[in-house]
């Protein structure tokens, strides 16, 4: 069994995995599949080690799509088989993240009440729409417009996550812009820069 760490472009040499093992690169068309030994048993330390290994790849590569913890294949042939049908999609995702990194916002606070107009169906759809795009964050979006290259939003019961792709080296400016904005009734926590975790297509064995 082998464990996938990332799909990259221009991966740096002499990478090490979560176990300290040397990582290998398997070419699949223009994609570089960076893999090593099977993941450590699940633990906080194993997750940190996986994240650190992916970070080392992302920092040295032109572009890097992180693989989630635990993405495994039987051998290189099986890994190729898993990735090959998705080459076009993955190459496109690599182009999006090239030269970029991710910032993550956790947004906590009451959402603005949906407008009273319309029937229950309309109100429900409006609620769903607002959860997906979080219009409350528009002032923040304006402040970040020059920095953000792509956005993904995930709404949950009380916490929404907003993932932004920014140019490498832009994290400090991004952080300053976030801290300079007050949002009515919302608390925003920012973290990053991260490898582009939330812009990588899911690979499931």
């Amino acid at each position: 069994m082998i464990g996938l760490y990332a799909i990259a472009l221009g991966a740096p040499p002499e990478l090490t995995g979560a176990r300290g093992e040397p990582l290998r690169v398997l070419r699949c068309g223009e994609l570089e599949l960076v893999h090593g030994e099977v993941p450590l048993p699940l633990s906080a330390e194993a997750l940190r080690a996986h994240e650190a290994a992916v970070r080392r790849i992302a920092e040295g590569a032109l572009a890097c799509l992180p693989a989630r913890f635990g993405c495994c294949a039987e051998d290189e042939a099986a890994l190729s088989q898993l990735i090959e049908p998705r080459q076009v999609e993955l190459a496109e995702a690599l182009r999006l993240v090239r030269g970029r990194e991710q910032m993550t916002l956790r947004v906590h606070g009451a959402r603005a009440a949906p407008p009273a107009a319309g029937g229950p169906g309309t109100r429900y759809l409006e609620q769903r729409r607002r959860a997906m795009i979080l219009p409350e964050l528009d002032p923040l979006r304006s402040a970040l417009a020059n920095l953000v290259r792509a956005e993904r939003v995930e709404g949950h019961a009380d916490v929404a996550s907003v993932y932004h792709l920014i140019d490498r080296g832009g994290a400090a400016a991004y952080q300053r812009a976030v801290e300079g904005i007050q949002l009515d009734g919302l608390r925003v926590a920012v973290s990053g820069p991260w490898p582009a975790w939330s812009f990588a297509p899911e690979i499931e064995p």
Binding site: G70, T104, H156, A157, V159, S191, E204
Partner: protein, 69 residues
């Protein structure tokens, strides 16, 4: 899914700090993938977000100093 893995995932969530929760969300996202086996609803997204939410409410550690007053 088995009991031992469930305990492992729950233990991680219980002991999580802010940076570990960030790592859990990024590195695991949708459920725990362990050697090709997908365990959903153990370290499920909802559980992670529940803890994240509690943490963001209860602790100012992850907020900029200006917001702590």
């Amino acid at each position: 899914m088995n009991g031992r893995k469930r305990a492992g995932a729950e233990e991680i969530i219980e002991r999580a700090d802010a940076s570990l929760l960030e790592i859990i969300d990024h590195v695991l996202n949708k459920g725990v993938m362990l050697q090709g086996e997908v365990i959903l609803g153990v370290a499920g997204v909802d559980l992670v977000y529940l803890r994240l939410n509690a943490l963001l409410c209860a602790s100012d550690r992850v907020l900029p100093a200006r917001d702590r007053k």
